[in-house]
């Protein structure tokens, strides 16, 4: 009985539908361009989309509580710019220092958003809409509307995104950071009290409140976490692209939210898994990386991107509905 149940769960699970989409995509692209499934291409893809994939984790937590954060592109820009400016003026700052500065700044920015949303009772989309503009404006202000150019970023910091030292030469540092983040979030959300509280708040905030969970502090927590990851993203962005621009990561929030939605995270809160987000992020990365490779006209690429996202989400919803129906049937019996 138990075994049969597991099998059924595996074949009809939401993640499985994403894996199928992923495989179909890969096979199709590989047929059109044989250079796709090569180590170099995949590595370049993961490097280029590391920031998006990492930030999708934070966005998942925010979405789980029933919120949304569209200020992340601006948070990334501000914290990345802040750190880049400090490194420009003090080239002696160690690499880890650059990362820590960016992450702390990002966390503070995120916490401010969290406080406004939870204590001020402002709807998340409105609050983050405001902060999106505020933080973006502040980025131009602190940078005096200038860029931090490649030659002004310390060598060691630029080298981080191109080196392999975190794993002793095995994997690119950017990819290592992705893996570390996903492992931490997988464990934290599944097996820690804090992680379960995030789900509880999103499933039913009132019930969570009654059962003794401080809903406000959970909310502040997830927005701070989102900010922290945006800060990490900012540092990675500066390292990877060897420069900081005031308009960097404009529009990134849409890709990040899309990765979560494709990965099966519900916008109503309470639903979503780390493996799902991983697959959603991968699908978004493949779409971005591979569409230029298959020789489709530029003008079709955006339309195709939208179609794939829609298709993945519909498939996901249908699978979810079937699962719910089955669960209901079992309960009725």
């Amino acid at each position: 009985m138990n075994k049969k149940f597991d099998l059924k769960k595996l074949t009809s699970s939401r993640e499985m539908s994403l894996v199928i989409v992923l495989i179909v995509l890969c096979v199709f692209i590989q047929l059109r361009n044989s250079t796709f499934l090569q180590f170099g291409t995949i590595e370049a893809m993961l490097k280029n989309y590391a920031v998006m994939m990492i930030m999708a984790l934070g966005m998942m937590c925010v979405l789980l509580t029933g919120g949304i954060d569209i200020a992340i592109g601006s948070t990334l820009a501000f914290s990345g710019m802040f750190s880049a400016l400090i490194m420009r003026d003090h080239p002696g700052v160690p690499v880890i220092g650059g990362f820590l500065i960016s992450m702390v700044v990002g966390m503070v920015l995120g916490a401010v958003i969290g406080v406004v949303i939870s204590k001020g009772k402002v709807p998340p989309i409105v609050a983050t809409l405001g902060f999106m503009n505020i933080y973006r404006g502040c980025t131009y202000l602190i940078a005096d509307s200038r860029w931090v150019a490649a030659y002004q970023v310390p060598e060691g910091f630029k080298a981080f995104a191109q080196s392999y030292y975190l794993t002793g030469g095995l994997l690119n540092n950017m990819i290592t950071v992705i893996i570390i983040c996903y492992v931490i979030f997988f464990i934290a959300l599944k097996w820690t009290t804090a992680g379960r509280r995030v789900y509880a708040v999103g499933s039913n905030a009132e019930a969570a409140e009654v059962s003794g969970i401080n809903v406000d502090s959970v909310k502040i927590g997830v927005y701070s976490l989102m900010g922290l990851l945006s800060g990490l993203g900012g540092a990675l962005w500066v390292s990877l692209y060897a420069s900081a621009q005031g308009d960097m990561a404009t529009g990134l929030e849409m890709d990040v939210i899309a990765a979560c939605v494709v990965g099966g995270v519900s916008l109503n809160g309470g639903r979503g898994t780390v493996p799902g987000v991983f697959l959603g992020g991968l699908i978004m990365a493949i779409i971005g990386k591979a569409l230029p490779l298959i020789g489709v006209s530029q003008f079709w690429q955006s339309a195709i991107k939208g179609l794939i996202i829609l298709f993945a989400v519909i498939l996901n919803v249908v699978t979810q509905r079937t699962m719910d129906k089955n669960a209901l049937k079992r309960r009725e019996m």
């Binding site: 405001g130 505020i134 509307s145």
Partner: protein
């Protein structure tokens, strides 16, 4: 109920975005503008006290805040105005959109400025706003990126389209060693200036000297760093025989330079880029992807826009072909432009090489 709530929220969000968006950009732009007017205030007092508050103000609208190239144009405009001792307003929209610029044009019309020099985000969308401004007696010139012919007196062009096409094609020919595959990495597929340069390059390519060159693709990176990197990597992997990439856009060339260098590819890069951004990538050895590239001097372009504005306002030129005027930068003539209007050409593009890049990277 829930749906209704959600749609209500979305409506609130949309309205809020409009309010916040406009409010934000206005504040952003208003701050430097105020500063500028304040700085220039003593000059006004010195020249004429009786003049109405905003008479004799020369305005400049850039494409967007945070664009270093536009900042330098604005700086040139400011320097020239300071030297002439005139009042000016410099405005930066927060996003590179036509509607952000329209709001600013309407504001300036309400303030009754003398002239507006604008780096247009859209050739046609600004027409109603600019026509209204001209009807109010305000002199309009476009700088850098042109508006359509009906919405301006004259366009201040950084360099003639034909000269740019010729210069870039000669660079491609040189870097490819006379033959082979090459590709273009552009910004958005609708950018007016990009498309006219690409068209000019294609025209030059018809010549016999370029017969052995094969243009394999025009890729669009939308002036987004991430997308430009993707497009460059795709070019590198789709065309193993590729010899040269030409990126006539500052974001594109920087992203391409990084992507080519990180991939350890032997493909060479040229195009139009900012020296400060490209300093790390310019060099003739294999470790550098870009042997040389071009750009005009945005500071001089901004200055020229200032002199043209002044000449339009004091009646030295009307914007008709054949008009001439003299300013601190030299003698200029108004000529026919390809779009049916008229333009003033600043000069040929300037080459940045490993020899002069160290000196220029701190300038802009």
């Amino acid at each position: 109920m829930k749906k209704r709530l959600l749609s209500a929220l979305l409506c609130v969000a949309m309205v809020a975005s409009l309010v916040v968006g406009c409010g934000g950009s206005k504040e952003e732009a208003a701050a430097p503008a105020e500063e500028a007017t304040e700085e220039a205030a003593p000059a006004e007092e010195a020249t004429e006290e009786a003049a109405p508050a905003n008479d004799g103000v020369y305005a400049f609208i850039s494409k967007a805040a945070g664009n270093p190239y536009n900042e330098k144009e604005a700086e040139g405009f400011q320097t020239a105005m300071d030297e002439l001792g005139l009042n000016y307003v410099i405005k930066h929209p927060e996003t590179a959109t036509a509607d952000a610029q329209i709001t600013m044009i309407n504001e300036l019309v309400a303030q009754n400025v003398s002239s507006i020099a604008i780096a247009a985000n859209d050739a046609d969308a600004l027409q109603p706003a600019l026509e209204a401004a001209m009807a109010a007696g305000i002199k309009i010139c476009s700088v850098d990126s042109s508006t359509n012919a009906a919405s301006r007196a004259v366009h201040v062009n950084q360099a003639g389209t034909a000269i740019i096409g010729q210069t870039l094609m000669d660079a491609v020919l040189d870097l490819a060693g006379g033959e082979g595959q090459w590709a273009i990495l552009s910004a958005t597929s609708t950018a007016t200036n990009q498309n006219s340069w690409i068209a000019a390059m294609k025209e030059v390519m018809e010549g016999d000297a370029y017969a052995s060159l094969e243009l394999v693709e025009v890729a669009y990176g939308d002036d987004e760093y991430q997308k430009s990197v993707d497009q460059t990597q795709a070019l590198l992997s789709n065309y193993p025989e590729l010899k040269v990439i030409c990126a006539p856009t500052t974001v594109g060339i920087m992203a391409a330079a990084k992507a080519i260098q990180d991939a350890g590819s032997s493909v060479k890069l040229t195009g139009l880029g900012l020296p400060s951004e490209m300093a790390d990538y310019i060099g003739t050895d294999d470790a550098h992807s870009c042997p040389y590239m071009y750009l005009w001097n945005p500071i001089d372009l901004g200055k020229l826009a200032a002199y043209v504005s002044v000449a339009l306002v004091d009646g030295t030129i009307t914007g008709a072909a054949g008009d001439t005027f003299t300013c601190a930068l030299g003698d200029y003539e108004v000529v026919e432009a390809a779009d049916g209007g008229t333009e003033i050409i600043a000069g040929p593009p300037f080459a940045f090489t490993p020899e002069n890049i160290e000196e220029w990277k701190t300038v802009y």
